[in-house]
Symmetry: C3
Subunit: 395 residues, 3 copies
């Protein structure tokens, strides 16, 4: 059986994911990332074969969304439910939680019978990931001091630096599309800025993509209009990763040129790093006028780059005029969801279904992160699940 | 055992409910409606006998409420939970979804591991049911294209045309009250407009009632003050149904006369069809002043018909002065929830408990719709559940 | 095995908790309170030993929060989930429910397939507990009249009089800290008012503490600045309880003096009884100006008592300079969560972990209240759970 083989391969990977939070892909080894992909795929196949990988008879998965979300919210709920956990939302409008003492306390108060805490916090540069670590330290302390009988795992559902459940779902999509991780070697992937009529989109997706995809021997090109820089440390990381993996990493400032001979394109808008820094300062000071002025200036600046739209003309130059188009969704589609946006209507339509397939991996990636956190030998446990053969649906 | 007999009867019905959405009762055959009633009753008896009809080890039931709800929300949650599904609310204030491209995408994004989508969308005439079908087509497409591993079923939790979970619960109430569907033959049911101090109540309940009850040989009379018309196509449908079933259908404009010799009365307010059309147009244009003027004019018009209250005087003329009073709740009760309303306090109190019993069928009707959608041979599956005899509660 | 012994002890207690709501500790016998403590501890140990005390295959636990909450909300969700119930929130902003007819109806509408209703209603003096009883009567009626197939149990999650899930968690904390309930005999507990920069904090915690702790032979001292009285009937109750239990109960008006030789201190702010009465009247009349004036006057009055802070100086006089500090959390911590508050930063930090441990008992107390309501012989059922030995987590 194919599942048996997947599980066998998983057993060969040396990993240290047990009882570890999943906060940044670059804190994980290649083997660990491969393990997550494998587990995700196994869980997906199990569910499709009506085998229930439910490992919890009861338990809570807490969610803290400090920014709106549909896709990730449903992915998290689906993953938790698949493993047998109920989602309990920590609604900060109903109960304000902040940094400092309050984080330490609240982290414990919501964790007495909880197995996971999923956090989205992507609004403030320099804050989101820090907050997750603050929660983590509070949980460590609570566990060590006997307050908590177990230490809930933390899943980063998007922060200011990385969006690991997205980038890992994207990687699984690539693995499935091209047949294997090995087949990604030498492929050209273009992570490109694209025009959007909105402003202030987080940096975590492009950062997550360049930091992750450079690890698999791909030739990754980051394209954006001058001024739309990402966090410098993460760009440095991508450069190093590419060196180690035998791929390459470069930055260019012309969308059409960048697309030449691309195997994979990821055109997506983001706000410049230095703008996000200013914005964070203004948000902290609640400077409404400053924020309004910044937004106005940014939109005016954006408006110079409406030609950064991915369309038939740009696609023309890609490998076989048919590079795989990727997006984390929702995309700003010209003539559909906005007048002028990240991608033309016809090109989006051509790759619409693949972007849905791409999104469909996210629930399983999250479930895999949970699974690897809680089982020291995930392969063995997955084998037991296979043998117990409990139906997900039916009598 | 009585349950065995109910299941046997179910096995004799030829139905085509498997993998079909439940959007309008008039898209279903009589046998199919009977099957839903039977399954609902069996599930109710099972639960009361502490037998758990849980058929899902995990899975999500998504809810989309585009209008407020307590009763239907709890009914949907109860049905989902009874079968083993967790409810995941799609909160449109947190993540705006609209028509068109967005519907197509969002429908897929919330469905990767979902088994049902329950939708209430009753605010806009000509829109609610259309929206449900749009979601359905998006799911069909997603399933056919391999995005979704299964096609979630859609349950109409109230639209602009029908309120099938309500009308079917009402029908089950009548079946139980009068002993059988056959016993409904020849009974007189009056669906009457009634005065309410509020405005803009949906048409789906009276429409659902006349379209459904005319199919069982009843003499259905629709009573309302001139001007308070329902959607003409649905009135035509009721006329046809009555012809086929050997019952009758008529429209009158005097509440007291209509009630003469009635076996069943359903006095409930609604807004006139043409007003709802105007209101929909104004809502689409966000014309606040227009809406305010329309409301004012409507309330003034309503105020002419405060004598359309169901009370002892009206009840006096009904069969044995004791027609079964029905309502979808909450009713506008004169002297209780408002100064003057749909029903007098004393008459409501007399039939209060039966209206609660009526409401109590809804969770089981929804569970039955889900069950019939997912099991090709529901009778066989129910037998298996009976044999497995899993306790809902206890060790 | 230790668990076996705990269960045996439980079997010796004569209780009448079966099918009874838990609304006020003073409606329960000592044996009943001990049974709740025992069950809570057994459930906690079971979960820590990875034994699942899940007794529901499906079912709903409704929550009605008429005031904000994080701790109690998560505790209720955790308890429900541990026993196998899904939480269904009754959101009154989405569906306004009020007193009178509406309560009677809504109570039934949300209960068709529900096993518990947890209610927090602590804003209006004279109203919260009354509302819970109104719901209870409506459920009794619905059950007797055949509307409901079972009668959901009600758990008081804080009302105007008592906060039994808090005070019982506090009592379990004391039992665990001092080794047994018997060891509490003769201990001095000071329930003291403390300064807070906020206003309008409910009376239920201090009232719940003095009413409960006086039943176990403790010497309970209630300390507050003149004018900060609690509900007189509950103060009388504490006096009687102390007499019966062989302890004592007294009221003093000097924080430092009160703390002398205390074994346990509970410094916490509250609003004076007569102010809460005025506030309730103003809230009922929606008198915004009146409320603003009352708040201003109260804060000015509070400000006279900033020296009512629990700190090293006050701690100095307690037994071995080390009385057990308790708080229901969150505390107003001077220099941490506010400039000047209920407790100094250093003293809070010293007892921070114990307050977390204290809070950690609440989910199990709620689960125990549920368990005792639904099983006539909880000891027997707990033995069955122990024997069935179902894992909470694992394959």
């Amino acid at each position: 059986m194919e599942l048996k083989k997947n599980i066998e391969l998983l057993g060969q990977l040396k990993t240290n994911l047990y009882h570890k939070d999943f906060l940044l892909t670059w804190e994980k080894t290649d083997a660990e990332l491969q393990a997550i992909l494998n587990i995700a795929l196994i869980l997906k196949k199990m569910r499709e074969a009506n085998i229930s990988p439910r490992v919890y008879n009861s338990g809570l998965a807490v969610s803290i969304f400090r920014d709106n979300s549909t896709r990730t919210r449903f992915s998290y709920a689906s993953a938790a439910n698949l493993l047998g956990l109920a989602v309990q939302d920590m609604d900060e409008t109903k109960s304000q939680i902040a940094h400092g003492e309050t984080v330490r306390e609240t982290a414990n108060m919501i964790s007495f019978l909880s197995d996971f805490i999923g956090i989205r916090d992507d609004m403030y540069l320099g804050e989101g990931n820090k907050y997750m670590r603050e929660v983590g330290l509070a949980l460590d302390d609570g566990y060590q001091q006997g307050v908590l009988s177990s230490r809930p795992g933390i899943i980063n559902l998007q922060c200011d630096q990385d969006h690991p459940t997205q980038s890992m779902a994207d990687l699984l999509h690539l693995e499935q599309h091209f047949g294997s991780l090995d087949n990604l070697y030498g492929k050209k992937l273009v992570m490109s800025w694209a025009y959007s009529p909105s402003y202030g989109k987080p940096l975590s997706v492009p950062q997550g993509i360049i930091a992750l995809m450079t690890r698999f021997g791909m030739n990754v090109e980051l394209a954006y209009p001058k001024g739309y820089e990402l966090i410098p440390e993460i760009v440095d990381l991508a450069t190093e990763n590419a060196k180690k993996s035998g791929g390459s990493f470069g930055i260019t400032h012309n969308m059409k040129d960048a697309m030449q001979e691309a195997d994979i394109v990821y055109p997506k808008s983001w706000a410049p790093f230095h703008i996000m820094q200013q914005r964070t300062e203004l948000l902290k000071k609640s400077d409404k006028q400053g924020l309004a002025e910044l937004e106005k200036a940014c939109l005016a600046n954006n408006a110079q780059f409406t030609d950064w739209e991915y369309n038939a003309d740009k696609m023309q130059g890609t490998k076989n005029q048919d590079a795989l188009y990727m997006h984390c969704l929702p995309a700003d589609i010209s003539g559909v969801s906005c007048q002028a946006g990240e991608v033309s209507g016809d090109v989006f339509e051509k790759y619409r279904i693949p972007t849905y397939v791409e999104a469909g991996f996210k629930p399983y990636i999250i479930a895999a992160m949970m699974f690897a956190n809680k089982f020291e030998h995930p392969g063995q446990t997955l084998n037991q699940i296979l043998e117990s053969n409990t139906k997900r649906f039916g009598v």
